[in-house]
């Protein structure tokens, strides 16, 4: 496995790379869009122009992220056919439903109103413009739901039947769409997207405050970002993250064992704070554990028996236990730091010292990349943990890739994506940097126009 000549390996790398890159953009738009809705709503209620200015500035950031999200998203769907022909043939009748529904119910809505949101303020008036923001927000979350239901089917297949030719078909559409794994994963993921949005908004607020620029706007960003950041960081951990871990414990016990680097089963299972899985020796090196914590978190009692990897045949183990373990643990660590940071920021806000705590502002400004990392680690945990299955318990990843495509072609397209996405990333940073350095307008564009014509 995993060798240079294995086309399955290259198809996985290509999908992982294009997907991780793609998801950097939707995670911000799904989080940020509710700030836009909130500010448009404030503007509608208070008639205070500063909220419109905030929405106008962030709509530009949103638009750039949205555009890159669109262009990097289209290759994802096509790769099901190009690189995962076996999987498409096997499960297309099921997963194709939600991919098509995403286009029909989410993308049409989103893309119809995105132009109105970004450029339509003058023509639409405040009410319709608020509705456009709401339409884009709903569209982006509906789209997220369909994608997560698709992934949930791969994690915990529900509502399917096996057709005469051995492929999968829909048995009950409601059972497929209302997959319990899907609801839990969706809540967890959307809260995590809100964390990214909050940290980015707060970081911009901190940046402008530290520079002494756009102070009225910076205050809005800092405060909204801190409040939403604290709420969403807590919700990511509890109840959504907690429920997600229980879901894994109940339906993928071998994955839970691998996530915790737990080789030997037993009661009073601990959560490792520090430790490195040593797969060859079958143990966790230099562990520092909280005894009983895993038993409690996964099954509700400290004495609960948690299975270890050795309770399962080795071909059922996830194929990269170390990476899975590190992804999961780093995600948890970052999530904990997010709560502490945002709780401290919220406390300073309540004491009226948010804008004057320079140290805190520096940390808030520099913290924004970490939710992106945590989101990525979360998805790596979900996807590495699902291995060696493509559809859990039904279909192995090694069966799913396209047999007619050569390794060379796959490496070629992967390099193509790396190159193209590198350039795209540079371009994105340049344009975002310009928007940030221009900053939000302190006066109305209409006033500017009047000045220019005068």
């Amino acid at each position: 496995m995993n060798s240079f000549s294995d086309p399955g390996f290259w198809s996985r790398i290509q999908f992982a790379f294009t997907l991780i890159y793609h998801y950097l953009f939707p995670q911000l738009t799904m989080g940020l869009v509710w700030f836009l809705v909130y500010w448009k709503w404030c503007a509608l209620r208070t008639r205070d122009e500063k909220y419109n200015r905030a929405a106008r500035f962030w709509a530009k950031i949103f638009g750039l992220n949205f555009a890159v999200g669109v262009v990097t998203g289209i290759p994802m769907e096509f790769q099901f056919g190009t690189n995962w022909a076996g999987f498409s043939k096997y499960a297309g009748g099921v997963i194709g439903q939600t991919l098509a529904m995403e286009a029909m119910f989410a993308f049409f809505l989103e893309s119809a109103f995105i132009g109105a949101l970004i450029w339509g303020e003058k023509r639409l008036g405040p009410r319709l413009h608020f509705l456009a923001a709401l339409g884009v927000a709903l569209g982006s979350w509906i789209s997220g739901y369909f994608i997560i239901v698709t992934n949930a089917f791969m994690q915990l297949p529900t509502g399917y039947r096996i057709e005469a030719d051995g492929s999968l078909g829909i048995d009950s559409l409601s059972a497929y769409l209302l997959n319990p794994w899907g609801w839990v994963q969706f809540s967890h993921n959307q809260m995590a997207a809100l964390v990214t949005g909050s940290f980015v908004v707060a970081a911009a607020g901190a940046f402008y405050t530290l520079r002494g620029l756009h102070l009225e706007q910076a205050k809005i960003y800092l405060r909204s970002g801190t409040v939403m950041g604290l709420i969403s960081s807590m919700l990511v951990a509890f109840p959504t993250g907690d429920q997600q871990a229980k879901m894994v414990g109940n339906h993928q016990p071998v994955t839970l064992a691998a996530m915790e680097g737990r080789f030997v089963g037993g009661p009073m299972a601990g959560v490792a704070m520090i430790g490195q899985p040593n797969v060859a020796a079958g143990r966790l090196d230099n562990p520092i554990e909280i005894p009983g914590a895993l038993s409690f978190l996964a099954y509700g009692h400290f004495g609960s028996y948690v299975l270890g990897l050795e309770d399962f045949p080795q071909e059922a183990w996830p194929d990269n236990i170390e990476l899975l373990y590190y992804s999961f643990h780093l995600m948890i660590t970052l999530g904990t730091i997010f709560i502490i940071l945002m709780a401290y920021a919220a406390m300073q806000y309540l004491r009226g010292r948010l804008e004057s705590s320079r140290g805190l502002l520096w940390v808030l400004m520099l913290a924004f990349p970490f939710p992106y990392i945590a989101n990525t680690l979360g998805w790596m945990t979900a996807e590495l943990g699902r291995q060696p299955w493509l559809v859990y318990g039904l279909y192995r990843t090694s069966e799913g890739y396209s047999k007619v495509v050569s390794v060379g072609d796959m490496v070629f397209t992967l390099i193509g994506f790396v190159g193209l996405y590198f350039v795209l990333g540079l371009l994105f940073l340049v344009l975002i940097g310009r928007e940030i350095s221009h900053g939000p307008a302190d006066v109305l564009p209409a006033e500017l126009e009047r000045e220019a014509s005068a």
Binding site: V70, I74, G93, G96, M104, A112, G169, V404
Partner: protein
Amino acid sequence: MIAAWYAIAGFMLVVYVALDGRNFGAGMLHWRVARTPEERRQVIAAIGPLWSWHEVWLVGFGGTVLAVFPKLLASAFAGYYLALFLILWCLILRGISLECGGHINDRMWQGFWDFVFVLANTLLAILFGAAAGNMARGVPLAADGTFSMAFFTDFAPSGYVGLLDWYTVSVALFAAVALAAHGATYLTLKTEGNVHDRSAAYASVLWAAAAALLLIISVESGVVRPDLLGHAMQNPFWWLGLVLVLAAAITLVSGLATRREMRAFIGSNLLIAGLPATGAAAIYPVVLHSTLAPENSLSVYDVAAGPNSLAYAAIWWPIGFALAAAYFVVISRQYAGKVSVKRDNQGFY
């Protein structure tokens, strides 16, 4: 049920071709119809904030094919591996060029993105045209329902064919000219000033060229697939398609002749959608014709998902389509009217 899904998937594809085809066409003609930087921004604004809405039809088509004809998607996409990535990269570049140009008001910056825009759109028109030619000609499908092919082999449309041969190249050429004409017709309707006048002049010339090329590729199709005409004549929908194409052509020509821009554009849309639709009716029920052995060909019945999956999809698809149609009405009203050379009169760029 399976035939109905063939019609629905085909419908989504031809709607995409008509909607995004005008953007490809406008993109190909960008340098010809727009000479000054302001005129160039005018063309971009005419394509406007709706390009991603148009691309959703392609995404919806892909998802629907995966849901109802999973084996078709698996076989065709894997077989066309490199060509598909070329299309994807061009779609990425096209979207980026539209979005990036307006962000910095600088001649060199916008000139560069205009170049990317023209290049990506031209390649897309040619690649989609070649893909249509491939659908008609067939692919070297083996007995196990898979194939993989080179970009070109000996340029002969039989046996171990490549993506490009003399037949698919002529279809690609026709597609490029017809979509350019479609784009010119759209720009005539959507713009005013110099861009409008140049587009109107281009539309007439390009449609005449497209008509001549259509005649040529019709004859060529008879040579490449001698079995197809007799087969198509038994399909009432093929006749319906011919009637549609004829009606579209009359609408278009009368619209061009009397300078009724909306009429010409409607005719142009119907024609651009009607031609591939007629082709789809002609090849039905075979979706992947084998150039190696007819018994290897895959029919729509070989590639369909289970009956239950098709039945469930038939529940939500009409709802989704009704919503899409409603959005279409909203955005058509929102972006109605002409784009002038003065910046920002559509609120875009």
